[in-house]
């Protein structure tokens, strides 16, 4: 089972997202602030990270940069969730090395589509 790390300080978002991902056959681990998210990303071996931008302690861009500039973790795909959808945000994300973008409020099907680009889905519900 593929393991997805969800990092967002909005518990409701984490909960609904993980519910749907679990229903689609993924294993989900969740973090509710940047620091916890970074720790889990480094220590729990996720196959993919879904990362919010605006978070307490360490923001999403920074986590992204820290992971992408570290040879040990740079192959983990990262999907950023941004509330701003502004082009310049995307630009920053691209520079920080994020693989994909989704804008709040997002359709679950979009998220799934983007995940499936990077992970072979395990369709055992």
């Amino acid at each position: 089972m593929k393991k997805i790390l969800i990092v967002d300080d909005e518990k409701d978002i984490v909960e609904t997202l993980s519910f749907m991902l679990k229903a689609k056959g993924f294993e989900c681990i969740c973090a509710y602030d940047g620091e916890e998210g970074l720790n889990l990303a480094k220590n729990s071996n996720p196959d993919l990270v879904i990362l919010d931008v605006m978070m307490p302690k360490i923001n999403g861009y920074k986590i992204c940069r820290l992971l992408k500039f570290d040879n040990k973790y740079k192959n983990i795909p990262i999907i950023m969730i941004t509330a701003r959808s502004q082009d310049e945000d995307k630009l920053i994300g691209e520079e920080t090395g994020a693989d994909e973008y989704i804008t709040k409020p997002f359709e679950f099907s979009d998220v799934l589509e983007k995940i499936s680009k990077y992970l072979k889905q395990n369709e055992t519900v």
Binding site: I13, T16, A23, A83, E88, E95, K104, P105
Partner: protein
């Protein structure tokens, strides 16, 4: 009356007195020691001095006399003894030889008296002239000083200083009214004024002011007990004190005003009476200060308004960030929850419930659409809309329109036709925004087209002279060359001709004909127009009530220059940013000329190295989207990082707007270093 001073020996005395005793002559004879003689001359102020050349010390006395300004014109006539050698004749104005002849002496005195009088007149005129010249000079300097400042109290200082120089007052009393504070009385005096005098001047100035407005309302309703005094004494160490009697000095008074605007009153006191020239000079100064005072007042008003506006702008952008983040974040779990429920993964739901949940989902999409529109509008207005121009083919986007709106159209049984009359050339545009323009127009038409209607989307290439400029919503645009024209025609309710310009206003839906239940907040067309404008296009509407409307959009086909212009204006619109532009080497000199001509760029800020010392083999038209300051901060922590990045991109020109001068200069400096 001729005043004659006699510097002669006793022997000649009686003879000379004889000759000169006449009621028209006033004689004085030197008496006593050297110093006594000088004092006598000093008090007597003679027109003519008769000097015997055999007199001891006569040279010294004459030199002393001539060195005093008021005696400069005094005529020296030597009485010459032939046997006495004398080498001071060059000091003489006239000569008479012994033995004295009455007629010779008298006529010499007479003619020298006339010379003296003429010289006196000349001297006086000269003095007047040089005083006027000095006053003029001061006035001239003052006026340039006035022009150099917008600080009110500085202006008063300059005025008082100018009056001190030109009118040498004993006391200057300037009462100034202020909109927001107490009236101020600037008291400038040579010696210390007494307490009584200060109080008297306070009362006098306010009385002067009130007398001026006797029959009308006072511009400032203030009284003397509210006056704040700022007092400066020039010779504060001197023992002299101005008592209340100083008020009886000669005085000059004037208001400081321009048009209806009143600033205060000035009064000067001087022991020595003022001349007519002084009055003119005084009026000139008080008049001159009024204009810059008005500018200063306007400037103060503008800067305080500006501060308020800046604050509002800040509040607005905070608001926008709240809208974007705080509204969108809660929408996300709502949307996701509904999706979960709809997918039946949280348990089966009855079909009726499903309909309502679909309705809720649709409205969330609408709501996020509105948020998106609001954000777009705010970005456009603050110049933060980031457009990424590329050469694009818009045909697929047009074809996509049919698909996108298929479902909505089917609900109302509306047919959407697409007619592309010829192969469309590529345009230089941000494709995402172009799609937004089209989809706004089509969704707008869908909203106002009744059941079973038709919408036609027609695309073709037109020449600028085929376009009726008068119909354009912004008719001042300069049309030239070829355009792609896209028309969206519907047979909906139409728009009254008068209402057509209004539909592009913010938050407008024509209340009478289009009611609110059509949905939307009325931002779609505003954004559409703004997006078209930023693509150097234009829009116009042809409509007939109850028959339908045609929305026509034209977007320019671009040659190299047009592309460059677009890049440039795009880079410049985003204020405070450092933009990077790659340009075709072959054309760069022409382009730089163009830039200079249009004053779009401060060319001096671009260093030659950046402009010319590049690899000449490179010929391309490429545009690196500018990197805004916000992302600049996020990605490149220092300007150096940023410079390494743009240096690697081998950009030819670094654009920076005037107020980000520092960044621009710094960047160009560092790039020069990197390049060398």
């Amino acid at each position: 009356m001729t005043k004659i001073f006699l510097l002669i020996n006793n022997e000649a005395n009686s003879q000379i007195e004889d000759i000169l005793s006449d009621k028209n002559n006033e004689l004085m004879k030197a008496q006593g020691e050297l110093e006594d003689i000088l004092t006598q001359i000093h008090h007597f102020c003679p027109d003519i001095i008769l000097v015997e050349n055999n007199l001891e010390n006569c040279e010294f006395i004459i030199r002393q006399i001539k060195s005093i300004a008021k005696n400069q014109n005094t005529q020296i006539i030597f009485l010459l003894h032939e046997n006495v050698k004398t080498d001071i004749l060059n000091l003489a104005d006239g000569l008479v030889e012994f033995p004295l002849k009455k007629e010779v002496l008298l006529s010499t005195i007479n003619s020298h008296f006339k010379i003296k009088k003429s010289l006196d007149r000349l001297y006086d005129n000269n003095k007047e002239l040089s005083k006027s010249l000095y006053q003029l000079n001061v006035l001239y300097n003052t006026s340039s000083q006035f022009a150099g400042t917008l600080n009110t109290s500085k202006l008063y200082e300059i005025m008082i200083e100018a009056m001190e120089k030109t009118l040498s007052f004993d006391i200057s009393s300037v009462l100034i009214f202020n909109q927001f504070s107490k009236p101020i009385l600037y008291l400038n005096t040579i010696h210390t004024p007494s307490e009584n005098l200060i109080d008297a001047l306070k009362i006098r100035s306010i009385l002067n002011y009130k007398t001026m407005f006797e029959n009308t309302t006072l511009p400032h309703d203030k009284d003397f007990d509210e006056i704040e005094v700022i007092q400066k004494t020039k010779q504060s160490r001197s023992n002299k004190i101005y008592s209340i009697d100083s008020l009886s000095y000669d005085s000059l008074f004037a208001p400081i005003k321009v048009g209806d605007e009143f600033f205060g009153v000035v009064e000067l006191f001087r022991q020595i009476p003022y001349t007519a020239e002084d009055v003119t000079c005084f009026q000139a100064i008080t008049h001159q200060v009024a204009l810059p005072l008005r500018s200063a007042k306007l400037y103060e008003e503008i800067s305080s308004t500006n501060k308020k506006l800046e604050k509002l702008e800040r509040i607005k952008s905070e608001f926008v960030s709240i809208v974007s983040h705080e509204l969108r974040t809660p929408l996300t779990p709502i949307n996701n929850s509904l999706e979960i429920v709809l997918s039946n993964q949280a348990g089966e739901i009855p079909p009726e419930a499903q309909n309502f949940i679909i309705m809720a989902k649709r409205n969330i999409q609408r709501l996020s659409g509105i948020i998106e529109d609001l954000l777009d509008l705010s970005r456009i207005q603050t110049g933060k809309l980031d457009l990424k121009y590329k050469l694009v083919d818009i045909t697929p986007s047009l074809e996509l329109l049919q698909k996108t709106f298929l479902q909505v159209a089917q609900e109302k049984n509306i047919t959407i036709n697409l007619e592309i009359k010829q192969k469309l050339p590529e345009i230089y545009a941000d494709l995402r925004r172009i799609e937004q323009i089209f989809s706004n127009l089509v969704s707008n038409s869908l909203k106002f087209t009744p059941q079973d209607g038709t919408i036609n989307v027609v695309a073709e290439v037109v020449l600028s002279n085929e376009i009726d400029k008068t119909k354009l919503i912004s008719p001042y645009i300069d049309l030239k060359g070829e355009y792609i024209k896209i028309s969206v025609q519907d047979n909906g309710i139409g728009i009254k001709e008068d209402d057509i310009p209004k539909i592009f206003d913010k938050f407008s839906q024509i209340e009478t004909s289009l009611n609110r239940n059509k949905g939307g907040v009325g931002l779609g067309l505003t954004i559409t127009k703004q997006l078209i404008d930023s693509h150097f296009g234009a829009i116009w509407v042809e409509s007939e009530e109850k028959k339908g409307s045609v929305f026509n959009v034209i977007l320019p086909l671009c040659d190299d220059f047009k592309i460059f212009e677009m890049d440039l204006s795009h880079a410049l619109i985003a204020s405070g940013n450092v933009g990077i532009l790659k340009i075709n080497y072959n054309k760069r000199i022409e382009l730089i000329e163009l830039l200079k001509e249009q004053k779009l760029l401060n060319i001096t800020r671009l260093s030659k190295e950046i402009l010319f010392d590049k690899d000449e083999r490179k010929e391309y038209w490429a545009y690196i989207p500018k990197i805004s300051i916000s992302s600049f901060d996020a990605i490149y922590r220092t300007i150096e990082d940023f410079c390494i990045k743009i240096s690697n991109d081998e950009s030819d020109i670094i654009l920076s707007k005037a107020h980000s001068e520092k960044d621009g200069i710094e960047v160009s400096k560092i790039i020069n270093i990197l390049n060398s």
